[in-house]
């Protein structure tokens, strides 16, 4: 058993030994590919040709839930499975299928995120291809994507995100509602709505689909009831026998209406999550403010004397562990953007209630303890804190962080709430924010789309292009010319001219990125018409619309911007060396960059470039330029609308986010040497963090630099990742100092922070000898992953992060 944080068990109702067994099995989980869902969905679609898409999808879901293999994980109190075996990834051919077939033989030999696949599975998947040809989401996107966008992608500026080939995901259900009415209740609402004679066809289809989906979910639960009974009859261990019997009993009417106990509530939250992930292969389906909506069930059971804190911990820990049984497979190209099998199932605790009082409760602490016991990459545990957060919660968080597996990440209410208010929310609404996915922020139950990560924009590449008058030195593609002339020569006379070029190019590519978003969103309207997930979000059942067609209450999205620190540092280097101090000509700099700083002269110039102050060291001049880079993008946002504009949701606007998962690594591949001294092909900076290894003045300087960014207007989420050496947090006193360090963020405008506690030596050893470090978990970029599952370049980027040690 892992040493507890502040929790002290006072009875034996939490079986830590069993948790250890379950944890161990999950830690050694084997990723594989499961063909079942693909087969069933194909058959279903063949049977429903000509019907409305939302109905077809609901029928497919219903059929999957009826026919798929189900099993109950040994030892687990929590049941429900996504694919035929633990940690197998289902295939979702309706979104994109070509790549699956193409990569069939490569899944098991990838350098990161590999999947085992049997010849039988391959043989079962191959014949499905002909049906889906020309019907998938990805093909529709590709068909509608303007040629100029393709060119921008070839240049390496734009990258179509996951939404161009899979579902959107990014739903935090209104769990208060789901737990209150149940799946049955939602079906009844839809049935009642159907009585209305004035419905549009869209509404009729949606309600019909919702009923089908909910009934499928209820049938799925009943199947488990039967299975649990069968298993209990065979079970010889008395305790387990009883648990299986209880499980079976609960399934008799689970979710036909309100959740009747703490256990039912937790099980339902898990099932809702899982069902959304059978319905669609989006990711970042998240749990929202778990401690807030679960607490009433916990409290009621405690008061009724049917639950103890220890039992609650056991149930929660099983739930945490079981979220790691789910999986998703992405094409290799996308995997580079999000290494480590992430599902980004964020679970948030702590923070203010809508009325402004502190919401910390027993469940907040128990979740930290459950993570302490489970120590697996999912759920992605986040803690909100404000001035009223008890020190004890921060202490438990710090103790968990100190163990070095990257969780929890921390969100500062005093910064995030004002950022959410920039979206014109009511204060009470803004106070109810939760993190979704990695670090993006949304209001649970009210958002229906990803808050970030639509199209990826490579800021570093745009900077390289402006130095070359818009021409990409690598591909020779030129989509805009700064000077109006063809060719690479830009010859800026002043820093102001260079800055204007940045603004011009940024706008050019942002416009293209928004076009790409629209193409994806329009295709998703059809291909991601998901009645089950939609019904869990406010307004959707009321309006009779899926999320993708305007069913949610609010609608704010953002793209993912990669490399603002590289751009700011580079702009500052050019400003200083070329324009202010004139120790270099722009031409010379250009030559040296083209040669990737090679040769004696290159080395001298690189030395000059590196000596120019960098973001992350509390230097006002360069920090201001980095802030300007943010401002230049923020200024563009009022121009953009989402596809749902005018169709129901409030907002339908854009916001900004630096949540960029591991994309800073592959995006760096495309960018040549930059004036900050970065070599060609090396990673860009991660989120809002300083460039790799650029922060030399310690963590307080990093915080001071970050504080100068417009964080309180980054409503899509701001990402900061810091690495401390284990020694810096060792012992009570250092822990106390670290807690205070975290607290200061409240006064320093720091949106989010997450920590890796690992020394370079350990990480280097883990890269060389992965077998000795199977359970080394690291914070990647807004989520955690097992280090050994990352591709080598992403491992290097983590190793190169500045390690703060004292």
């Amino acid at each position: 058993m892992n040493t507890c944080l502040s929790f002290v068990p006072s009875n034996t109702e939490c079986d830590f030994e069993r948790i250890g067994k379950l944890q161990n099995r999950m830690n050694n989980r084997v990723p594989s590919i499961c063909p079942e869902r693909a087969e069933i969905v194909t058959r279903s679609f063949q049977e429903t040709e000509g019907e409305a898409i939302v109905v077809r999808r609901a029928k497919a879901l219903h059929k999957i839930l009826e026919e798929m293999t189900i099993y109950i994980e040994e030892d687990s109190l929590i049941f429900g499975n996504q694919a035929s075996v633990n940690f197998a990834a289902s295939i979702f051919p309706e979104y994109s299928f070509e790549w699956v077939i193409k990569e069939l033989d490569e899944f098991s030999s990838r350098s990161g995120d590999y999947f085992e696949i049997t010849e039988e599975t391959k043989a079962r998947l191959r014949p499905l291809e002909s049906y889906w040809k020309g019907k998938t989401h990805a093909e529709e996107v590709l068909h509608n994507l303007p040629e100029i966008n393709r060119q921008a992608e070839r240049q390496g500026v734009l990258h179509r995100g996951g939404i161009s080939m899979s579902g959107d995901g990014h739903v935090i259900p209104n769990h208060d509602f789901v737990l209150e009415v149940g799946f049955g209740g939602m079906a009844r609402i839809a049935e009642k709505k159907l009585q209305n004679p004035d419905l549009t066809q869209e509404q009729k289809d949606y309600y019909e689909a919702s009923i089908i989906a909910m009934n499928g979910a209820l049938k799925y639960i009943k199947r488990f009831g039967k299975l649990a009974m069968e298993k209990s009859q065979k079970e010889t261990d008395e305790k387990r026998k009883q648990e299986l019997r209880d499980m079976s009993k609960a399934c008799e009417n689970l979710m036909e209406g309100k959740a009747k106990s703490f256990y039912e509530a937790v099980e339902t939250v898990y099932l809702t999550h899982l069902l959304m992930m059978i319905e669609s292969n989006g990711h970042s389906f998240s749990f929202g403010r778990f401690d807030q909506y679960i607490y009433p069930y916990y409290q009621a059971d405690l008061e009724a004397g049917v639950l103890t804190k220890e039992k609650a911990l056991e149930i929660l820990t099983h739930f945490f562990i079981m979220t790691n049984s789910l999986n998703k497979v992405r094409p290799w190209g996308h995997t580079q953007y999000s290494g480590g099998y992430p599902l980004y199932s964020n679970l948030m605790v702590g923070g203010m209630k809508p009325d402004g009082t502190d919401g910390t409760n027993d469940i907040s602490y128990l979740c930290l303890e459950a993570m302490n016991q489970s120590k697996l990459p999912e759920p992605n545990l986040s803690v909100r804190y404000s001035k009223d957060t008890p020190d004890d919660l921060l202490k438990d968080s710090a103790m968990l962080i100190r163990q070095g597996f990257g969780m929890p990440s921390l969100f500062c209410d005093e910064v995030v709430i004002p950022a959410m208010m920039t979206l014109d929310l009511e204060l009470e609404t803004a106070r109810d924010y939760a993190s979704m996915g990695c670090v993006e922020t949304a209001i649970p139950g009210k958002w229906g789309h990803r808050a970030t990560g639509m199209t990826y924009i490579n800021f570093g590449k745009i900077f390289e292009l402006i130095l070359n008058n818009g021409m990409d030195p690598k591909t020779g593609i030129q989509l805009l010319s700064i000077t109006g002339k063809e060719g690479r020569d830009a010859a800026y006379e002043s820093y102001d001219k260079l800055w204007e070029a940045w603004e011009k190019a940024l706008r050019f590519y942002s416009d293209l990125a928004v076009d790409c978003d629209l193409v994806c969103d329009r295709a998703l309207k059809h291909h991601d018409a998901d009645a089950f997930a939609s019904s869990t979000i406010d307004c959707s059942l009321e309006r009779g619309k899926t999320l993708k067609n305007g069913g949610s209450e609010y609608d704010f999205i953002s793209q993912s911007n990669i490399g603002p620190s590289v751009v700011g540092d580079s702009l500052y280097a050019v400003k200083k060396l070329v324009f202010d101090e004139q120790v270099l000509t722009l031409k010379k700099l250009q030559e040296v960059l083209d040669a990737n700083f090679e040769g004696a002269e290159g080395a001298q110039v690189r030395k000059l470039c590196r000596a120019v102050p960098k973001f992350g060291n509390d230097n006002n001049e360069v920090d201001e330029i980095v802030a300007n880079v943010y401002e230049s993008y923020l200024a563009l946002l009022p121009n953009y609308r989402t596809d749902r504009h005018g169709r129901g949701p409030k907002g339908c606007r854009y916001t900004m986010s630096t949540s960029n998962i591991t994309s800073y690594v592959p995006n760096g591949f495309d960018v040549g040497a930059t004036p900050d001294g970065r070599l060609a092909g090396k990673p860009l900076n991660e989120g809002a963090s300083p460039c790799l290894g650029a922060d030399r003045e310690g963590p307080t300087a990093v915080i001071n630099s970050i504080s100068k960014l417009p964080n309180d207007r980054m409503a899509g989420g701001q990402l900061l990742n810091m690495r401390f050496s284990p020694g810096a947090l060792a012992g009570e006193e250092n822990l106390e100092k670290f807690i205070n360090f975290i607290k200061v963020a409240r006064f320093k405008n720091v949106f989010h922070n997450q920590f890796n506690i690992a020394d370079g030596e350990t990480l280097r050893d883990a890269k060389a000898h992965p077998e000795d470090h199977v359970d080394l978990m690291v914070r990647v970029a807004g989520y955690c992953a097992l280090f050994s599952t990352l591709m080598p370049e992403a491992q290097d980027a983590i190793i190169e992060r500045t390690e703060h040690q004292w």
Partner: protein, 302 residues
């Protein structure tokens, strides 16, 4: 003219030099020569040049640039004849790979304070502040006095990390303004002290008594270096002495010797005075702790 000081380094988020989150300012120059000194770049006077062999890419630029052919590229890398090389300090600009590093920056009192105050929020929340260390910070007493005065006017907690070898009258005004004195007690026996640090300890002990008498808060630090100052009877005398200092002593830290400074000696081209010294014996530590508790002192270790 503005008062200026010579600083080797400012360590932000320093956690070892007093309460809370602190910034530690290392002032250059010391009047002791402790054989185990981990900060040789601050111990020896004046600016210095460090050479980091591991960064050298053997490009030959410094060989070209050095006066009097003072640098040669050998199979081991650059060999520098520091006596012959009269332009050593310029090589930091020459080497493209930053293998040469100039240590020591002259900084004005106001400028230093401005930099230190940037972390004010961290000091405030964590009840931390600024620590002056070195070297012996009190050797630059005029500069230090000025800096401490401004910091105190700003309400910042100030600690002085000192070895205690100075004229009391000259330094007391600084200590009086400060909140905490971090005091090293290295040896009681004058001969041992001489052997370890190059000076006797009469003034040091007297200053320690004076500070205690004035009621200034003291954190005593005792580093135990095997073969140097690990004589148990002498250590017991040190503890007795600390006991005599009375209530002013708020905390005592027992520190194990570490050889982490050795790389810096190499980079400075100076011979490391100690060699092959192992870890402090665990049994000795236990005896020290036992004795301390017997005479009613509580000691922190580790």
């Amino acid at each position: 003219m503005e008062t200026r000081g010579l600083v080797s380094k400012i360590q932000r988020y320093s956690t070892k030099d007093g309460p809370g989150i602190r910034s530690t300012v290392f002032l250059v120059g010391c009047n002791l020569r402790c054989a185990w000194c981990a900060n040789p770049e601050a111990m020896f006077p004046d600016k210095k040049v460090m050479f980091h062999q591991n960064l050298c890419k053997r490009c030959g630029a410094c060989v070209e640039a050095a006066d009097n052919h003072a640098i040669q590229l050998t199979t081991k890398g650059c060999e520098i004849d520091r006596d012959a090389c009269t332009n050593l300090a310029t090589l930091a600009d020459v080497c493209p790979y930053n293998a040469y590093e100039n240590i020591g920056t002259v900084v004005g009192a106001e400028e230093l304070v401005e930099r230190l105050l940037r972390d004010r929020a961290f000091y405030d929340v964590s009840k931390g502040g600024v620590t002056f260390s070195g070297g012996e910070p009190c050797l630059q007493n005029e500069f230090l006095e000025k800096v401490v005065r401004i910091l105190k006017a700003e309400g910042i907690h100030v600690a002085i990390d000192t070895a205690g070898l100075w004229s009391f009258d000259q330094v007391w005004p600084i200590l009086e303004m400060s909140d905490l004195i971090l005091l090293d007690i290295k040896a009681m026996d004058a001969y041992i002290h001489q052997l370890c640090t190059g000076t006797d300890n009469r003034i040091i002990l007297e200053n320690a008594r004076n500070i205690a008498e004035k009621g200034k808060k003291i954190w005593v630090r005792m580093v135990i270096v095997p073969t140097m100052n690990d004589d148990l009877p002498d250590i017991k005398r040190r503890l007795d002495f600390i006991k005599e200092l009375g209530d002013s002593v708020e905390r005592i830290d027992l520190l194990k010797y570490h050889a982490l400074g050795i790389g810096k000696y190499e980079a400075l081209g100076v011979k490391y005075p100690l060699s092959g010294i192992g870890e402090c014996d665990e049994g000795l530590i236990q005896e020290i702790l036992a004795y301390a508790s017997r005479i009613g002192l509580s000691i922190r270790f580790g």
